[in-house]
Structure formats: structure tokens, C-alpha cells
Symmetry: C2
Amino acid sequence: MSRATQSPSKRANAASVAAVAAAGPAHAQGEEASSLWGAGAPCGACKFLRRRCVPGCVFAPHFGGSGGGGAGAAQFAAVHKVFGASNVAKMLSRVPVALRRDAASTVCYEAQARIADPVYGCVGTILALQHQVN
Amino acid sequence: MSRATQSPSKRANAASVAAVAAAGPAHAQGEEASSLWGAGAPCGACKFLRRRCVPGCVFAPHFGGSGGGGAGAAQFAAVHKVFGASNVAKMLSRVPVALRRDAASTVCYEAQARIADPVYGCVGTILALQHQVN
């Protein structure tokens, strides 16, 4: 795969990856956090999808489980655009509960990288890091 | 993000990334390759989706443009499972034609990495490479 056609400005900043991944999705609160549907506070994902946020919503702990989910909704918009809500819901539900926070973080990171660089996505970061290693 | 819970066997092999990315999707033939619908040979993506492969199909040059697309269909299955056919079609159609081969390659790589490691996907490779660099 040629990288010659890619603008240097498009290359993902490898140094920021760990920070982004460590930060995780907006308002990540652990899987024990439950949706506050019924109290008038849908999670960010359900707010974005304009759907009812039910107790046990798979997105709620990772995309703004409370407070209306402004940042969670914005992050989920990227995830939905790249992966699709249904695919991510299936993906999260198949991952052990203890690992879902990491799964949601990495999905968010990949989605944001693909939007920032539609050609290479986070593979651009991999190629840049491999260049540094070799 | 903690990596302590991840099995070492789940970590993507960073050394193989360049080879996978360089190989590109099955039967990548350049954007000039057109679908052979009408000659009885749907591309791998349309074969997988069981739909009519029309001339100008955005998937055809990258997922088995001829010969029934056996390998292309298998690769597209991973892409469809992770990203969804509709999302990938939009993504490819928004990328300049000259860069679509790279875009399809990286999408394939990300999809296969996410299926191999549902928690970290190709971000696992980024974290491993960052560990080597630091």
C-alpha cells in the first residue's frame, strides 16, 4: 500500500493515541451504571438515535449514562457513522462485561481516526509507528 | 485503558500489518475494473450481499471484480460484519478514486483485526507498537 499520496497532515498523531484510548468514551462509568430512562435522562447514544433508553442499555455506561449525554452523543455520532449503532451494540454485547469499557474506548478511537483520515483511519498510526520501529 | 486483562495471544502481530495492508483486498484491480454483472460474475461484495452487481459498483474493484469473488466475498463478510456494507459504500464513494484501493485495504485490515480481537481491534497493534517505541 502506497503512502506517497497521503498528506503528512492527515497522518494520525501516534503520541496522542494512548491518551485518547486511556480517556475512554465520554462519561464512561463502568458497566454497573444503568440508564436513567424514566428519570428523563437518556444516554448519549439513545439521545443521538432519538430512541427510548431502557434500563440495561448496552451503550449507557459508555456514552453518557447520565446528564443528557451531550459529549456522549457527539462521540456516539462518530461511532454510528463509521460502524453503525447496530454493529456496535452486537460487538459490545458479545464482549465480557469487564472488557466493555476498553472495547467502547477502542471503537471510539477507531471511529474518530477514520473520520479524521477516511483513507487510512487508525492504520495510518500503525504505519507511522512501524516506520519508527524499523 | 488497561491492557492487563488482554491475553497475549489476542494481540495483533504488528509485524504482519504492513504485509496485510500492502496485499490489499482480494482481487484489487484498480478503480478502472468494472463489475461484470451481465456476464454472470458478481463481485465478492454483491455475491455476499446476494444483490445485483451493477456496472460501476463501488465494491467491485476491491472485492473480487471477476471470477465469482470467492476470496472477495469472504473478506467482504468481515467488512460487512464490522462496518456494515452501507457505511463502507459511503466511505469509499467519498474518497478520491485514486485512494480507494488504500481505503479498502485499511478497512479490510481494521475489520479483520476487530474480529480477531473484539476488545482492542487494531488499536491493540497501536498500543503494542507504542510500547516498543517508548
